[in-house]
Symmetry: C2
Subunit: 129 residues, 2 copies
Amino acid sequence: MRIGELSKLSNTPTRSLRYYEEQGLIVPRRLENGYREYDPYLIDRAIQIRGLIDSGVPTKIIALILPCLDKPRGIVPDDIQPELLAILRDEREKMTQRIDFLTRNRDSIATYIDAADAALARRTAGTAA
Amino acid sequence: MRIGELSKLSNTPTRSLRYYEEQGLIVPRRLENGYREYDPYLIDRAIQIRGLIDSGVPTKIIALILPCLDKPRGIVPDDIQPELLAILRDEREKMTQRIDFLTRNRDSIATYIDAADAALARRTAGTAA
DNA sequence: TTTGACCTTCACACTAGTGTCAACCATTTA
DNA sequence: TAAATGGTTGACACTAGTGTGAAGGTCAAA
């Protein structure tokens, strides 16, 4: 498919898709007329990249970890560099911290929303009575 | 405490603390000489803000939700605006999505790391034998 | 064949957050 | 008193990611 269709299907601006290409995250083939041609499996990939960026993971890190996430489970190249492994460990830690932070704050917001809903329900009931 | 101490204790650059102030997230009192004076409880707050920013939550949203998170559990002002409530619901949803994204990708990374460790251990054992 | 939709690259601008430096004021200590 | 340390504001720069528009090529349909 071409960039416009991928944009719709992945809900990602074409501008961003071109930027991802510039960063080496999604590099499509080119048709003879110069148009970008994307394979269907790249829809999920675009969504994944968007999600990671939105969650605070910079594209340079994404570029590093994407190849690892692509492999089938348990498949690791023989020439895995210890540097990359260190980066991966570091990123795993950062992501865990982000998850904890987001979870705590989301739960607090949820509690507040619930309390607000309850208060509103009480007030509405009181008004109706 | 003054800004330098808060910076150390919260592991946040003074530049960022001043920026948070500019965004209305942490507005300290001022001493007679113009110095910012922070209360100790703001250490956690600074850490919280840093964590949220790092997780992709913009300061404008943080400014909206912070007051809600400050309240003791279940305390909601009588004049809660439905707009704010809508924003909160939206943000709760976004944070949930971020958490899901991060969790999935982190788990994939973790699996990859484990596989790499196992492969490395095998190779080391083989070399040693 | 011309319109319209979609594609190309290039470039400028903008927001968010942070780094950094300049010029200056305050407080403490040698 | 002079130096060191740490505070102040203001400005400029930079990265990351995206918006947007110009100028032009491609292709299908009217």
